[in-house]
């Protein structure tokens, strides 16, 4: 896994949460939070679904296929949303990319 500057994110991208970044249930506030150094991001259900699938094994394209079937939604739209979402997390240095 390497992290060159501005790794382009597309359907072939394979990522997982970097060490030190984890999804946790926050029972006090009744929400899911993504914890990272000095950051706690409250995630909605869709974001939780995406983060949960980022396993460092499967590409975003493969995961988008699964979501398309699960939610009966157009795959290209799902993939495009996932690329944007993963791009934001990449800028925050929260992911490890498989090279």
């Amino acid at each position: 896994m390497t992290n060159p500057i501005a790794t382009p994110v597309d359907g072939n991208t394979v990522v997982k949460l970097a060490r030190g970044v984890r999804l946790q249930n926050d029972p006090v506030r009744g929400q899911a939070v993504l914890l990272a150094p000095e950051r706690a991001l409250a995630l909605d259900e869709i974001a939780v679904a995406i983060v949960t699938e980022l396993d460092g094994e499967r590409s975003l394209d493969t995961i988008a296929d699964i979501f398309a079937a699960r939610f009966d939604a157009p795959k290209q739209q799902i993939l495009s949303d996932m690329v944007t979402f993963v791009g934001e997390f990449s800028k925050r240095r929260m992911l490890e990319f498989r090279s």
């Binding site: 060490r19 030190g20 984890r22 150094p37 990449s90 800028k91």
Partner: protein, 372 residues
């Protein structure tokens, strides 16, 4: 904003949100002697420190009231022999556990043990980009080389690293080199924070106060570097507030996001809160964190906006900076509920600007070291 809630039979209280972060000052012991040390002028002695069991109880209470991030700090937290045990307990309580360290006192073996105990993250301070300057600022010979080794051991153990670079007049011109060093050490994040002029730093104002030119240069540098290095390293930056136009959102608002536990168990709304003589602080030895956070008099003293002078209460920035820093108001205005004198609307602002400029132009370079 906080909501006022009337509870029959009780005094009026402010409904506070649950705290997000807790800073645990495990000890005030430290091998370094930084001239801007943020610990109080009167340090807590080792015999008054909370025991392992007491800290573990506090960590569990913190998690149960909603704390997500635990910062293990000091002094130098590695001076505690039970650091690995405390880390293990914090991780088991579900806290995101961050070690804030100078690196002195850590060995490769201890870093591996911390990693196995579930430590999430290490924040390592550097005092400059060259051994000569860094060791002079920290007052500890060989400190720089040791820190480089600690960063390498951290990397080898797989623990994510943030480099903390405290900046001031004498090292600000090395900001670019400190950033490059952080990147070389594999840090995912750097905190570039200008010295806050409280406590010990106030004794070294003339040797530390950056010039206005340095302040502007640093702002421009950070803006450029953030773009250039996006995706490689995250840059968090705290500029020199004495040269800024508005106060910092100190602690994200008093009693609003975080709390601080001293080595002997006193619970403070911020690490410098003991400089405000009118406040009384509860101790984890006597009360639960929940009681202290929600009902403690110190935490309620500056919540909401009832305490604010009219200048602040009627200001639309009160939801941005929450009235700024109470300890700074205490130190500079002699009144902790005054408008933070950094604010350009404060009647004290012109005097603060003159003093900052005068100190920044001083020829003094010698430091008054903490504990030397």
């Amino acid at each position: 904003m906080n909501e006022h809630v009337s509870i029959p039979g009780e005094r009026r209280k402010l409904a506070a949100p649950p705290p997000i972060a807790m800073l645990a000052e495990l000890t005030h012991r430290c091998p370094l002697a930084c001239p801007y040390c943020s610990n109080p002028l009167e340090l807590e002695s080792v015999r008054n420190e909370l025991s392992t069991e007491e800290w573990v109880k506090v960590f569990r209470q913190a998690a149960s009231i909603g704390v997500l991030h635990l910062h293990l700090s000091g002094g130098e937290p590695a001076s505690r022999r039970d650091l690995v045990q405390l880390t293990d307990a914090a991780a088991k309580a579900g806290l995101y556990t961050n070690l804030i360290t100078s690196g002195i006192g850590l060995t490769q073996q201890r870093i591996v043990q911390l990693s196995e105990a579930g430590l999430d993250h290490i924040q390592l301070s550097i005092q400059g980009a060259t051994p000569e300057l860094a060791d002079r600022v920290g007052g500890y010979k060989g400190g720089y080389d040791r820190k480089i080794a600690v960063a390498e051991w951290t990397h080898a153990a797989g623990i994510p690293l943030t480099v903390n670079a405290v900046c001031h007049k004498q090292n600000m011109d090395q900001m670019g080199d400190m950033l490059d060093l952080a990147v070389r050490l594999g840090a995912r994040r750097i905190e570039i924070a200008t010295v806050q002029f409280h406590g010990w730093a106030d004794r070294n104002r003339q040797a530390l106060m950056p010039t206005r030119e340095q302040f502007l240069c640093a702002n421009a540098f950070v803006a450029e570097a953030r773009k250039r290095l996006e995706g490689l390293i995250v840059i968090d930056y705290v500029g020199a507030d004495h040269h800024a136009s508005y106060p910092k959102a100190c602690m994200g608002g008093w009693g609003r996001t975080g709390l601080n536990v001293t080595p002997s168990g006193k619970v403070l709304p911020c690490h410098a809160a003991e400089t405000i003589p009118s406040l009384q602080f509860d101790n984890v030895r006597d009360k639960t964190l929940s009681e202290i956070w929600y009902d403690g008099s110190a935490f309620n003293a500056y919540r909401g906006d009832d305490w604010m002078p009219e200048l602040c209460r009627s200001c639309d920035r009160k939801s941005i900076d929450f009235g700024g820093c109470r300890c700074q108001a205490m130190a500079l205005a002699g009144d902790a509920s005054a408008t933070d004198p950094v604010c350009l609307r404060s009647p004290l602002r012109d005097a603060l600007t003159r003093k900052a400029e005068e100190d920044s132009r001083s020829d003094v370079t010698e430091f008054v070291y903490r504990g030397r």
